[in-house]
């Protein structure tokens, strides 16, 4: 187990280097960002040259990358164009996005799995059809439409919530944005759970458990659910990263200054330290979440072992 984890962690190193390099090249390919700093005015060549030197933009690409990597290992992720260190931006943005992700994940786990199990157990009945219809509708409507509509009705018409989340982004404010963010994944989790439950209902061990006369709840939770969750957990693990990085639409609608916002700003301003820094951390989160998922398999299914 320990050796397995170490091996997995070591595998992250090449992925980390490859990912940062690719992103660095991609931002670099967007062109020279200094001209845009001057607005509609032609840049003064001397000032532009100084700014390029300040951000190492006057050096060849490989040298820029090496300088950037050297700084990363000393904990310096560079500065954004507004003069703030990228680490500071990350310290602001990641906790917010993390909270939003937790809320969304909670919705997915609670509602997704409950609805999935319910419709799986009642396959073909009215509940099942209703849930399937609901998931279909949710998947079909773009997040943007759903988000702005809900924001307008709950925020302006009914005045139950504030349309915009305050800078502190407390959990209580993140419920509606979290729900919107979770919607699509929630629908997938529901469908995934349902299919898995339906399949496992026919398994031998369920028949055995029922034949033994175990209480229905115990059969459902301990035997059926536990075995049905493996594909769902895989999906949820991959979704953690998506929820953090892909929240850009939701974050914009509800004015949440999280990872999506900072990444967007970084791309628009072509500020490679911001983009590469944020994406690097996201890559790490992806890798760690995947590792946790893999380890989780063993908990769910005792037949799986790691060596």
């Amino acid at each position: 187990m320990g050796r397995y984890i170490i091996r997995r962690l070591l595998q992250m190193i090449p992925v980390f280097i490859g990912a940062t390099f690719l992103i660095f090249v991609m931002v670099y390919a967007l062109g020279d960002p200094v001209g845009a700093l001057f607005g509609d005015r032609a840049p003064d060549p001397a000032t532009a040259a100084r700014l390029r030197a300040e951000f190492n933009l006057d050096k060849p690409l490989y040298q820029q990358y090496l300088l950037y990597m050297r700084d990363i290992f000393t904990g310096d992720f560079g500065t954004a164009f507004n003069g703030r260190p990228v680490t500071e931006l990350m310290a602001d943005a990641f906790p917010v996005s993390f909270r939003l992700m937790l809320v969304a994940l909670a919705f997915e786990i609670v509602f997704g799995i409950v609805l999935g199990v319910v419709s799986g157990l009642r396959r073909g009945r009215a509940v099942d059809t209703t849930v399937l219809m609901f998931t279909l509708v949710v998947i079909a409507i773009p997040t943007f439409v759903l988000g702005t509509t809900l924001q307008f009705f709950l925020g302006v018409e009914l005045a139950w919530i504030d349309p915009a989340v305050s800078p502190d982004a407390r959990f209580s404010e993140l419920i509606v944005p979290g729900l919107i963010l979770a919607m699509v994944s929630l629908a997938y989790v529901t469908r995934l759970t349902r299919t898995s439950v339906v399949e496992n209902l026919r398994a031998d061990y369920i028949r055995t458990a029922v034949a033994k006369g175990l209480p229905r709840l115990r059969v459902t939770v301990r035997h059926l659910l536990r075995n049905s969750l493996i594909p769902v957990v895989t999906y949820l693990g991959a979704d953690i990263g998506t929820l953090m990085a892909g929240a850009i639409v939701t974050e914009r609608i509800f004015n949440i200054q999280g990872v999506g916002y900072q990444l967007f700003q970084g791309i628009v301003r072509q500020n490679s330290p911001t983009v590469v820094g944020f994406v690097t951390v996201l890559v790490l989160i992806f890798l760690l979440a995947n590792l946790l998922v893999d380890l989780g398999y063993a908990v769910l299914d005792p037949r799986i072992r790691y060596a």
Partner: protein, 547 residues
């Protein structure tokens, strides 16, 4: 079926629980927001693009803050755009080149230190020096000795630390010697780049940036970068435009639609950027609490006069013909919902008549006339190469929509669906790089947001042969001579008159087609009163009152 009912009940219960939790959360948020809001004016904001230094700010979001925390020598009257003395007691000159500036006594920075002549000279020297790489350093280029601290060619080292044209006489007096006569120079001093800076700016620069200290009507109470900033009135403010409210809370919105929704929900008092999609309904939605007034911004399309096909007499007439082929009225009405006004000269209505704005100066040439346009272009031999492109970045500001409309207008006039082709460039940075590297072949978008409300600022930087933003490469010695004479003129009327004569040449030569004047737009809540926009489209926060 029994089990199904039970399950359905459970699900319904869970949903109800979630809704209840949501409602609770909402109440919490609302209560917290109102508590923090208090009597503060809550206004929408965007993240400044540069550190908040006076000479390093060239966009409106940073400018909004600087306008609140600083007062320079002059201030532009929010209604008339005229430069009025703020800290300056007098600015005197006899030759339009050597100025003696006396500042009022009794002004202090918000850290208690007095504002002296030295504060100005130090600030200007800082802003001009190449080592500080300030975006707005060109503001100081008129001052003698600028080239020594800020060499024009890249890579050359500065030969001085300070500009020789600035000299402190005593605590309240300093003299300025300009490179050449510039009669309207004192009128430029209302711009934020000319603000004085306290000693703490130089002693502990990083700390100052975290919480800038100025001498204006507001001081920064708290600043959470990329989130919000709270400003409260500065008690010892010595100017006469002290704050009429208990303070301002600037809230960063990542999307102007959210700000607008928040304004409708009563969580925001002033939103100065209303999404294009909402403009049609804004007046009604906000029950008339909506401002739509001219701003100091003109949109033009320029021609690459550095390309051979755009030179010569025929090309000149084609340029004029193209100008007549664009139906400005229709585009401003249908695409911009009247938040743009068709342009009839090369300046802006915010200058007002006295400042050099002259309605209709452009005459017929800026008026849509399909027949005349077709005739002019056909007589001059048709478009070079049979068609023309119109290039702009399309990442912001409905550029794609109006470019399509302008090209359609030209195509309809010429009866050729391929006469004008839109060439979209994905990002602003890429577009500006192509423009400044002279890579344009057809028409391209040029916009100008004034630095200060002077006719000089709408002409010299853009059309003077060596102008800092002469993107079209326009070079007319006659125009240059008129500008030079205007700058050396002894009275403002004379200067304005000469500038207008120079402007007439632009109508003849058409290096750029004036399209429309951009308006400043804002909406406000029922809670506040006296909301207006200054000539730079920034809300005049000091005047806003809270009911």
């Amino acid at each position: 079926m029994r089990g199904g009912t039970r399950l359905a009940t459970a699900v319904a219960g869970l949903v109800a629980l979630a809704l209840a939790a949501t409602a609770c959360g909402g109440d919490d948020g609302g209560g917290g927001g109102a508590g923090a809001g208090g009597e503060l004016v809550r206004a929408s904001w965007g993240e400044p693009q540069h550190p908040l230094e006076p000479a390093n700010t060239n966009e409106v979001q940073g400018g909004k803050v600087l306008d609140m925390i600083f007062r320079g020598l002059k201030r532009y009257n929010p209604d008339t755009a005229e430069a009025e003395n703020a800290m300056a007691e007098s600015i005197e000159t006899e030759d339009q080149q050597n100025f003696t500036i006396t500042i009022e006594d009794g002004w202090t920075f918000q850290d208690g230190t007095p504002v002296t002549a030295q504060s100005y000279v130090d600030a200007w020297n800082y802003g001009a020096h190449i080592d500080n790489a300030q975006i707005g350093s060109y503001f100081f280029e008129f001052i003698d000795g600028y080239d020594d601290v800020h060499p024009a060619e890249e890579g050359r080292q500065p030969t001085a630390d300070t500009m020789s044209g600035l000299e402190v006489v005593d605590d309240t007096t300093f003299t300025v010697r300009l490179r050449e006569p510039f009669s309207l120079w004192p009128e430029t001093l209302g711009y934020a780049a000319y603000a004085p800076l306290p000693q703490s700016f130089f002693d502990n620069h990083d700390a100052w940036l975290e919480k800038p200290v100025g001498n204006g009507p507001y001081l920064i109470d708290s600043y959470q970068p990329s989130r919000s900033m709270t400003l409260v009135p500065y008690e010892d403010f010595a100017g006469d435009d002290a704050a009429q409210n208990d303070g301002v809370e600037l809230i960063v919105y990542t999307d102007n639609s959210t700000a607008y929704t928040d304004l409708q929900a009563g969580n925001l008092d002033v939103a100065d950027d209303i999404p294009a999609a909402q403009l049609r309904n804004a007046e009604q939605d906000l029950d008339g609490r909506f401002i739509n007034q001219p701003a100091g911004i003109i949109q033009t399309v320029s021609f690459p006069l550095y390309q051979e096909e755009w030179q010569g007499e025929e090309a000149r007439r084609i340029r004029q013909g193209l100008s007549r082929a664009i139906d400005r009225e229709q585009i401003t009405r249908t695409i911009f919902n009247d938040t743009r006004t068709p342009a009839t000269d090369f300046t802006s209505p915010v200058l007002q008549e006295a400042g050099g704005y002259q309605e209709g100066l452009c005459g017929d040439v800026c008026e849509f006339d399909a027949d005349a346009a077709r005739e002019m272009i056909e007589d001059a031999g048709g478009l070079p190469g049979g068609s023309v492109t119109l290039t702009s970045n399309v990442d912001t500001g409905s550029h794609r929509e109006w470019m399509d409309a302008a090209c359609n207008s030209i195509n309809n006039v010429l009866g050729d669906t391929d006469a004008c082709v839109v060439n979209p460039v994905p990002t602003f940075a890429d577009f500006r790089n192509q423009v400044t590297n002279d890579r344009m072949t057809g028409m391209f978008r040029t916009g100008w947001q004034m630095d200060y409300p002077l006719i000089q600022n709408f002409l010299q930087p853009i059309y003077y042969s060596t102008g800092s933003s002469n993107d079209s490469g326009y070079d007319n010695p006659e125009f240059d001579a008129l500008v030079d004479r205007a700058n050396a003129a002894e009275s403002e009327e004379e200067a304005v008159d000469l500038f207008q004569q120079a402007e007439e040449l632009l109508v003849e030569d058409m290096p750029a087609i004036p399209l429309w004047y951009q308006n400043g737009i804002a909406g406000y809540s029922e809670r506040v009163d006296n909301v207006k926009l200054n000539p730079f489209s920034v809300p005049v926060f000091t005047d806003i009152t809270v009911d």
